[in-house]
Symmetry: C2
Subunit: 404 residues, 2 copies
């Protein structure tokens, strides 16, 4: 018998409790022993919950119980979650989480601690909700040198962009709708400013490239400045706007990781990833491009990823290879300064003048464009510095990178 | 040190040799010991090959060498491959393969034998080339009840259909082009008649549903009867034709597995899977729909999947949970008789008469249609028997299922 304790009883914690108990029989068949829920750490009184018999308020009970094999940290945030994760690992318990904020900030320390203790620290649910990505990246693509990872990592912003593209809503209207649908939080800043995608690209980079990259090393731009004119101009070029997290291995071994909106061609598989879905593309030297697609968040998808980690640990009690990587540092990540791409540029200028200033470009047309405003896509790949040099003195302008 | 022997030195075998030796350093870091190539079973004399020092002609040498830990079977076919796989497993060696024909026909026996011997029999490369699918399905989605799997499982036929759709080539022209490009074999029957996709859906079904389904239990239809008129009519309906392998869990627990062309809506993620790419969609009760996309064949993608299995075994020497399932039987699989879907129907009739005969339908139009010929998509979902009943006495007709 393998005993599990869940820390927290919010969306993810209650989902894990449901999946663990609801699939008890099939999980026991897979593990070849029963996997039983023993405790749920819940600071609220919820005597009417069907899970009330499992509730405890003191983490010390879980920490001190030698029968608890696996702890599911489903509290979110960093402070208490970090403290309890450390204590659970130090007590020789395996820990599973979907807490991307914690893994992005403290993943190196926690995976090392787990390794020292001979236990696992797993977090399949931290990126892409229920989409299998951490295990495929660390195991199935293990024979590859990973060259690049990029994808739509945040469902909330993808929903907002999809509504702007499909229904012509403004950013503010689409955000309001996303909040009404429960896809965006009341304080949506972590999503729309790109911080959530930033944490996820940090985690994917650590797995793919073997070094920790910290969120503060990743230039991060959200979608709050994307406006309907840009959406329309992009459509005129056969492209759509997507918020991408991206990490590229440079020739010197450094990783160029960043989060920013991109113009993506309609023929690219990521262009078809709509609404709250996520899509993650990985390029390896042997495999070429592979893409993973699915529901990037939500109670049951995330719970299913967490419980898959629990099953993996229970199947290989004590023998599963640790998932870990090397410490990061200022030498690991480079900014986007050296990254040359084509750009979409919109400015207060005549189209010809704008294209000329950029050393060549394709002018874009849209209905209802204000006179004296133009947009184009550059012919050449330019770094941000080169772009700024070209547009020096050209008045107000907006620019978005073009993917490939 | 972990020692590997490769059986066969064709496309896959030579690719595995290249990836194993070319990534020696990074593989050793992952496994924390070196993984060395020791033998290659090659019945040809190739003294100029850089791998010549590894060549042996007698499988007995590999079988009898207690230092060989992992055997990669890359011979293809069933007879010799089955014999040597059995002997390797009986000698206590782990076996890795991408041989879908062997796994589909003898996977139950071989996984059982591996389990009895306390070794692994792994075959990530047998479905979807380098696309991670077997491990995600068996591990990452382990907390789900799998409801359905369907996908584009054969790159050759997808290339042919893509060229018919995009370039207006006839089936025969597109096949000839695929052969010239090296995407189709000189005898293309295993691909175009659907047998390759059939083997793959058998393997996916075993992993997803836990019972072996044999190829002869899977009604299999290829693309050799798809013609340009159908491609055009489908386009008029906003759909494209894709060859899908599909396995659906029925309410009575039986599995409806089959291979057939389908009309797929342009908005469906599989519609964008073009050329030799594969796309596999999995529906679980917790996760909803997830899709895996990538290059479904080719030397290095397949080799990368095979080597990932080698790395997994080497990382968990002797402790990896066996991948296995229960024996199949006539009670496991049901045919497609009970499967009601909408249908695309083309016949020698007036459009109205055709729609009426089918109990309602949407007539499709295409340029250059011959008079007296019409096509429509049925309004109702019908079983094959019901469809045949509707069209009894209606002259010659062709029908293709519509996906959802």
């Amino acid at each position: 018998m393998v005993n599990v304790a869940i820390l927290g009883f919010g969306t993810v914690g209650s989902g894990v409790a449901e999946v663990l108990t609801g699939h008890e029989g099939s999980i026991a068949r897979k593990v070849e022993q029963s996997v039983a829920l023993k405790y749920i750490l819940n600071r609220h009184d919820q005597p009417d919950s069907p899970f009330a018999p499992y509730f405890v308020k003191d983490f010390g009970v879980i920490e001190a119980d030698p029968q608890v094999d696996i702890v599911v940290e489903a509290m979110g945030g960093v402070t208490a979650a970090l403290d309890m994760t450390r204590r659970a690992l130090q007590a020789g318990k395996h820990v599973v989480t979907s807490n991307k904020e914690l893994v992005a900030a403290h993943g190196y320390e926690l995976t090392q601690l787990a390794r020292e203790q001979g236990v696992c620290y797993l977090f399949e649910g931290s990126v892409g909700g229920g989409i299998p990505i951490i295990r495929p990246l660390s195991q199935c693509l293990a024979a590859n040198e990973i060259l690049e990872i990029y994808g739509i990592l945040n469902g909330t912003t993808n929903y907002i962009l999809t509504r702007m593209i499909r229904a012509g809503l403004s950013f503010a209207q689409a955000l309001e709708e996303a909040q009404a649908q429960g896809y965006a939080e009341r304080d949506p800043s972590a999503d729309i400013e790109g911080h959530d995608a930033c944490r996820k690209i940090c985690i994917l980079s650590a797995i793919a490239f073997g070094r920790h990259i910290y969120p503060h090393q990743v230039p991060t731009q959200g979608i709050d400045k994307v406006c309907l004119e840009d959406v329309d101009y992009a459509a005129a070029a056969g492209k759509c706007i997507k918020l991408l997290g991206r990490a590229i291995r440079q020739e010197d071994g450094r990783i160029c990781a960043y989060v920013a909106p991109h113009l993506v061609d309609q023929s690219h598989p990521l262009a078809g990833v709509e609404d709250v879905f996520n899509g993650i593309s990985v390029r390896g030297d042997a495999i070429g491009d592979v893409m993973f697609y699915g529901r990037g968040a939500g109670k049951l998808p995330t719970a299913s990823a967490v419980v898959a980690d629990v099953i993996d640990i229970a199947c290989h009690m004590g023998y599963r290879k640790a998932l870990c990587w090397a410490q990061g540092g200022p030498e690991v990540a480079c900014g986007t300064q050296g990254l040359a791409t084509r750009w979409y540029v919109r400015g207060s200028a005549e189209a010809d003048a704008l294209c000329n200033a950029l050393g060549g470009g394709t002018a874009l047309r849209r209905e209802g464009a204000a006179p004296g405003q133009a947009a184009c896509i550059t012919t050449r790949a330019l770094t941000q510095e080169e772009l700024e040099g070209c547009l020096d003195g050209a008045g107000a302008w907006t620019a978005i990178r073009v993917l490939n």
